[in-house]
């Protein structure tokens, strides 16, 4: 019984102390966005980046020639100015649930090269967030921009 109580207590404590480790990347990016994070904050959250320029840093999935995980741009004062990532439909739905906003959402039949398909997109004006389905990647690009 004591063991069970201790285990429950440990679980609650662990989940409270390290919530960010259990979040999806896009939710953690949103948290960084809300706090006007600096480059150091981003590195602290996601580790060493795989590519960098004076105005931003990028994270690739495996190697620079492979898929892109996220890209973050900073203003002259060193705070997040723009960032984007690519997420699955499940992750997008989770993100939308977590961001209280009057989303303007659209679903439009669009020409995709030689095929045609519905492209979903959304806009949250007051938080500066947009998302759009990328048919080739089968993922949604989520972008935060001031």
């Amino acid at each position: 019984m004591i063991r069970l109580i201790f285990l429950s207590f440990f679980c609650v404590l662990a989940c409270t102390l390290v919530p960010s480790k259990w979040e999806t990347k896009s939710i953690r990016m949103h948290e960084l966005w809300k706090s006007s994070a600096t480059k150091e904050d981003v590195v602290k959250a996601f580790g060493k980046y795989s590519d960098a320029r004076t105005n931003g840093i990028a994270y690739h999935l495996l190697a620079p020639q492979n898929g892109i995980d996220s890209v973050h741009f900073f203003d002259s004062e060193g705070h997040l100015e723009e960032q984007f990532t690519f997420v699955s439909k499940t992750e997008l739905e989770e993100l939308l649930k977590r961001i209280p906003c009057q989303w303007k959402q659209k679903s439009e039949m669009t020409s995709l090269g030689h095929s045609v398909g519905m492209i979903d997109s959304g806009l949250c004006t007051n938080l500066g967030i947009t998302y759009k389905y990328d048919n080739s990647m089968q993922l949604y690009e989520v972008r935060w921009k001031r």
């Binding site: 931003g56 898929g67 741009f73 039949m109 030689h114 095929s115 045609v116 398909g117 080739s136």
Partner: protein, 238 residues
């Protein structure tokens, strides 16, 4: 009066000679009711039994495929193209062709629409991937390689079913690279240097569909030309 009697007699004679009261659809043939004699099968003997008259499809799967033809236009179609109804002759061409395609094309999942001409030059067909439609233009019916065209279109729908990790594998095998423009704050996609078809440069999806088409129509030469993508496709297209 004599003429009328003769006609009536003729109709009765014809009807009784066929012995059929059943009416079948145009893609079906009527099968007479009869008694089947006892015959052996591999594992057992089938006893003499009566067979009811019934309609049988002329081409394998025709009863299923016929439900997939649509005569109405697709709502919200983004191209300036005119849809039209199917003719029986066109449907027959498809009904003969569809059962010959491999199961991995999942051909029984799609709806077939008919439109006059594509607004893209020399384009015999197109796919609408959200609801699963294949649109065939007039040009399709004058092509020799109809099976390859339908396979190409089915590949657009199969691409939609690939997981992001499978897309990533295909992209890497084919030679696509992504590049970040820090100035424009965008991702640029660089197509492979050696394209299987010139229009593969449109994007990964078109590249994939061109590979699937070649996988289907050149089973001997394709594995030699693209061994790694052939392996990738062979593991998935079963």
């Amino acid at each position: 009066m004599k003429f009328l009697k003769f006609n009536l007699l003729l109709v009765i004679t014809l009807f009784s000679s066929h012995g059929l009261a059943i009416e079948c659809e145009w893609w079906q043939i009527p099968i007479k009711g009869s008694t089947i004699s006892q015959y052996p099968r591999e594992t057992h003997i089938v006893r003499k039994h009566p067979r009811k008259e019934h309609c049988r499809e002329k081409w394998k799967g025709a009863d299923t495929y016929i439900k997939q033809f649509r005569n109405d236009p697709i709502k919200g179609w983004p191209h300036k193209e005119v849809f039209k109804p199917w003719t029986r002759k066109e449907m027959e061409i498809l009904l003969r062709l569809l059962p010959t395609l491999p199961a991995w094309t999942e051909i029984n999942r799609y709806q077939f629409f008919r439109a006059i001409n594509s607004d893209t030059i020399d384009n015999p067909s197109r796919s609408e991937v959200t609801y699963g439609s294949i649109i065939l233009y007039d040009l399709f019916f004058s092509q020799q390689n109809k099976a390859a065209i339908i396979t190409h279109e089915s590949a657009h729908h199969l691409y939609k079913k690939l997981s992001p990790s499978d897309i990533d594998i295909f992209r890497t095998l084919s030679g696509w690279t992504y590049e970040i423009s820090f100035e424009k704050r965008q991702v640029f996609k660089n197509p492979p240097k050696n394209l299987i078809q010139p229009d593969s440069a449109i994007g990964e999806e078109e590249d994939f569909t061109n590979h699937v088409e070649e996988f289907f129509k050149a089973p001997k030469s394709y594995p030699k030309a693209y061994p790694s993508i052939h392996k990738f496709l062979k593991e998935r297209l079963k």
